[in-house]
């Protein structure tokens, strides 16, 4: 079964020079455990492959149920010299959260509590 990643996580993205960071934050502890296991560097690197990152690194901030992905050299020059509209990677988090994502048959424990 698949759900958009946005059902189980929120996030925010931005820049550091030519590198982008994409933070993905699970809504629940069960969701964080699931993402920690399934939202790997490979999954994120493949999804964003057209951006041309030289490498992708994942950091954990378990205190806020967060996974922080750093996409190195992904901003085509960054705020100073990129020709893109989104020079600072502001839209990357929302784009990642649109990804259809495998979830357990009963995803109740993963989605945002009402």
């Amino acid at each position: 079964m698949k759900l958009p990643l946005s059902k189980i996580a929120h996030g925010r993205s931005g820049d550091k020079g030519n590198h982008a960071n994409v933070a993905v934050i699970a809504y629940t502890d069960a969701g964080f455990a699931w993402l920690r296991d399934k939202l790997t560097v490979e999954v994120v690197a493949t999804y964003f492959a057209p951006l041309g990152a030289t490498r992708v690194e994942r950091f954990e901030a378990a205190n806020v149920r967060g996974l922080n992905f750093v996409l190195y050299d992904a901003l085509a020059g960054g705020a100073s010299s990129s020709l893109r509209t989104d020079t600072q990677g502001k839209t990357l988090a929302a784009a990642l959260l649109r990804m259809p994502f495998d979830v357990p048959a009963d995803p109740e424990a993963l989605v945002r509590p009402v």
Binding site: S6, H10, G11, R12, G14, D15, K16, G17, N18, H19, N21, A23, I25, Y47, F48, A49, P50, L51, E57, F59, E60, A61, A62, N63, V64, R65, G66, N68, V70, Y72, A76, G77, G78, A79, S80, S81, L83, R84, T85, D86, K90, T91, L92, A93, A94, A95, L97, R98, R112
Partner: protein
């Protein structure tokens, strides 16, 4: 003082001009911080200052201050800490002094923190072994030395504390780390030092500064779950209420729009962060993974547990160098088949430039409305009624970019039906200032504080 309330009323140069005044008027603040300097702002200010020695600072601050004096009169104890000084903090302070005198506040003490600008000593520093290698590539600065327009060290909180100790009501700095604008008032009010025993509290104040430095991004701006009930039209700007032990609460003025909750604060905590266990500032390395968040009321999140992860003996240096020219222009292409027509229009555009004998170091075509903001990742799943065609070019040769800007208008008559939106004229050509991050030994830099 038991608690010190620090509010940030400006997250970048270009932020809402009324926010600082509204925040100060309703936030019961001890300190108002105003942050104006993005990575490349300094290069633009450096070029301005080279043409006119009286400019080169964030003029929005002077605009804010001129409409702020009557509010300030009612808040005699409020202090302001801002990096509006940019490349020319002394000129900024002189302009601020004039405004304050006109506004009946001649008694305010203004301090200038400088020493961040190492451009005058750059060759001396290189000669004495400070190579200023690129932080990522490791290349020595000598490879682009002749093109450098600005070189600024990110100073820390210490010189701002010194300015406050001298009795400053308003501290105007050049380049300092954004979080240090918040660290300094806390360190001054609670008498913290910058030694090993103070690092956890400095880390806590750094977290507070990081959370509020982008203004409304802590209070509902950019929140993934924001909707009409979030009332961002009247968004309140963030306040960090700090205690001596380093615990603090993030909140915003009562009655304002926006939201402060675990989601907004978690998102901002990880904003523009690489390894969250090592957030480097001139004051301390903060470990964001130690932070505990707790909702303690409406629009109130308590933050505790912040730990330091050491301290470095280097400052970060932000260097900008000339790197050619660029321009970007747009046309609107209406459907049917808007996406295909836009792509073909771009091909025609590029063909005409090629026929005219122009080449470009880099070009980028976007069909906005068809998934262009994250190129290649998202795709249009319908035939949109219209799209925006945006073409951008970069080249060392200014004449090539000038010629590029003249190819948009012809498509209005010689392109496909539905081509419109050529209303803003030829797009402006701007100089590109590329970014060169580096490190420098703290011992090579001398911050200074001047009262004026």
């Amino acid at each position: 003082m038991n608690r010190v309330r620090i509010g940030n009323g400006c997250g970048f140069w270009g932020d809402n001009l009324d926010a600082p005044i509204r925040l100060a008027a309703t936030g019961k603040l001890d300190y108002l911080t105003l942050e104006y300097l993005a990575e490349l702002t300094m290069s633009i200010l450096a070029v301005q200052k080279a043409k006119d020695p009286n400019v080169g600072f964030a003029t929005d601050f002077i605009d804010v201050l001129s409409r702020f004096t009557s509010t300030l009169t009612l808040l005699p104890r409020l202090k302001i800490v801002t990096n509006a000084g940019g490349m020319n903090p002394h000129a900024c302070a002189a302009a601020a002094r004039e405004i304050l005198t006109k506004g009946g506040l001649p008694e305010k003490t203004i301090a200038v923190v400088s020493g961040d600008d190492i451009m005058p000593q750059l060759d001396e520093l290189i000669a004495s072994g400070h190579e200023l290698n690129h932080l990522d590539s490791g290349d020595p600065l000598s490879t682009i030395r002749s093109k450098v327009v600005s070189a600024n060290v990110y100073l820390g909180a210490k010189p701002i504390v010194d300015a406050l100790k001298l009795g400053a009501d308003i501290v105007i700095t050049g380049r300092v780390a954004d979080a240090s604008l918040t660290v300094a008032p806390a360190a001054y009010e609670f008498g913290w030092g910058f030694e090993a025993s103070d690092l956890d509290r400095l880390a806590a104040a750094t977290v507070a500064g990081h959370l509020i430095e982008c203004g409304a991004q802590a209070t509902g701006g950019l929140w993934i779950n924001a909707d009409d009930s979030t009332r961002l039209g009247n968004v309140g700007y963030p306040i960090a209420e700090m205690a001596d032990d380093g615990t603090f609460t993030i909140t915003k003025p009562h009655g304002t729009g926006g939201a402060v909750n675990i989601e907004t604060i978690s998102e901002q905590l990880l904003y523009e962060v690489a390894d969250p266990a090592k957030y480097y500032t001139p004051d301390v390395v903060a470990d964001f993974t130690t932070v505990r968040l707790q909702e303690t009321g409406p629009d109130s999140v308590a933050v505790s547990g912040c730990k330091a992860n050491g301290i470095t003996d280097t400052y970060k240096v932000s260097i900008a160098y000339r790197d050619g020219y660029m321009a970007a222009g747009t046309l609107v292409i209406a459907g049917p088949h808007a996406v295909e027509k836009a792509r073909e229009s771009a091909a025609i555009f590029l063909e005409r430039l090629r026929r005219a004998g122009f080449t470009f170091a880099a070009s980028h075509v976007e069909v906005l409305g068809a998934g262009a903001t994250v190129p290649g990742v998202l795709k249009a799943d319908c035939d949109p009624p219209e799209v925006v065609l945006r073409i951008a070019m970069r080249d060392p040769n200014r004449a090539s970019i000038e010629r590029f800007t003249k190819e948009f208008a012809p498509l209005v008559t010689a392109g496909f039906p539905g081509t419109t939106g050529y209303t803003t004229g030829r797009p402006p050509v701007r100089e590109v200032f590329a970014y060169w991050p580096a490190l420098i030994a703290k011992s090579a830099v001398t911050p200074s504080v001047t009262l004026i």
